[in-house]
């Protein structure tokens, strides 16, 4: 029973059998979309496969891209520098040319949302990297800033809409130099509790997890649904 593995992989849109080294965590939203679709198919409810109801966008392929960037360490004294500086990088090469981007949502998980570790308020700065990172310079020259936000900590997952940025990266891959994330500690929420800056920053570095949820629509597979909707 020689299963035509290669033919089936091609049918799935893959050119060879993936051999991931470790399983990435699957976010709740992808599991929910998967189970909703499986349940609908099992009970015979037909759903538009080219519309992601749970996200309110058109699309039939959802990809969660892990951050492939790295932490940066400033040469200044800890008190004078941000708590955390990280270059975030997402590889968009998996998105095929014919696919149309309909959503790109950056997820910044700052750690579990628990009240046992009340932390200081944080100031979060996110900017585009517009020049290649030069190694002898500790941090990349930040380009256009598009998030400057104060957040109480713990905070759980923060989401930012990166659709226009991702479209630009997808159309001009050489522009994709990543994002520059800086997190500063903004004093303390409860003056009675003394926060050790260093271990606060160490905890933040350990818990930070960034990912980019990308939804695309493949017009070759989705023309029929638009006709149905018409």
């Amino acid at each position: 029973f020689q299963f035509q593995e290669h033919a089936f992989l091609q049918f799935l849109g893959l050119d060879k059998v993936p051999s991931p080294q470790k399983f990435q965590p699957v976010p709740y939203i992808l599991k929910k979309i998967f189970h909703d679709q499986e349940t609908a198919a099992t009970i015979g409810i037909s759903r538009d496969l080219c519309y992601v109801k749970e996200l309110g966008v058109q699309g039939n392929i959802l990809r969660l891209l892990p951050d492939q960037g790295f932490f940066l360490y400033s040469k200044n004294l800890p008190q004078a520098s941000p708590c955390l500086q990280k270059l975030l990088y997402f590889n968009l090469s998996a998105v095929k040319d014919e696919e149309r981007l309909t959503m790109a949502q950056l997820g910044l998980d700052l750690g579990p949302n628990t009240y046992y570790h009340l932390g200081p308020d944080l100031e979060l700065v996110l900017s585009l990297v517009q020049e290649p990172h030069v190694w002898d310079r500790s941090i990349p020259k930040p380009g256009k800033m598009f998030v400057l936000q104060s957040v109480p900590w713990p905070q759980g997952v923060l989401h930012f809409n990166l659709l226009e940025v991702a479209k630009d990266w997808s159309n001009n891959p050489q522009k994709n130099l990543g994002l520059f994330l800086e997190i500063l500690v903004k004093g303390q929420r409860d003056s009675g509790v003394n926060f050790q800056l260093e271990d606060t920053c160490a905890r933040l570095r350990c818990s930070l997890h960034a990912s980019l949820l990308v939804v695309t629509l493949n017009p070759k597979q989705c023309h029929s649904s638009s006709r149905k909707r018409r």
């Binding site: 699957v26 992808l30 599991k31 998967f34 679709q37 198919a41 892990p66």
Partner: protein
């Protein structure tokens, strides 16, 4: 006089045959997160003239079976899927991306003569 209906055993008649492909048998459980496998059901069986009206058949199948009864050189109506459903696959690729894709009309739910 009614044409004596050929004694056709039920199991030869057109119906859905269930076939489950377990991804573990293919070693694909190492990269497919969900589901554990998928139903590769298929349609198979005869579409005799006497039963085309009951085998979930189309009008076309009835006419084709009628013509086959008159001239055996004309092929019989065939056993085909009449209801299909999609599957969703959650898997990981070589860049550690987690991908969720929907594939339309993948699973045969019902068969009939067409």
């Amino acid at each position: 006089a009614a044409i004596p209906a050929p004694k056709v055993s039920c199991k030869n008649l057109c119906h859905r045959h269930q076939l489950f492909i377990n991804f573990r048998d293919l070693g694909w459980h190492k990269w497919i997160i969900a589901p554990k496998g998928f139903m590769a059901n298929y349609c198979h069986g005869d579409c005799p003239f006497s039963l085309t009206t009951s085998l979930n058949g189309s009008n076309y199948a009835f006419m084709q079976a009628l013509m086959h009864a008159v001239d055996p050189a004309i092929p019989q109506a065939v056993c085909i899927p009449t209801k299909l459903s999609p599957i969703s696959m959650l898997y990981q690729d070589n860049d550690d991306n987690v991908i969720l894709r929907h594939y339309e009309d993948m699973v045969v739910d019902e068969c009939g003569c067409g």
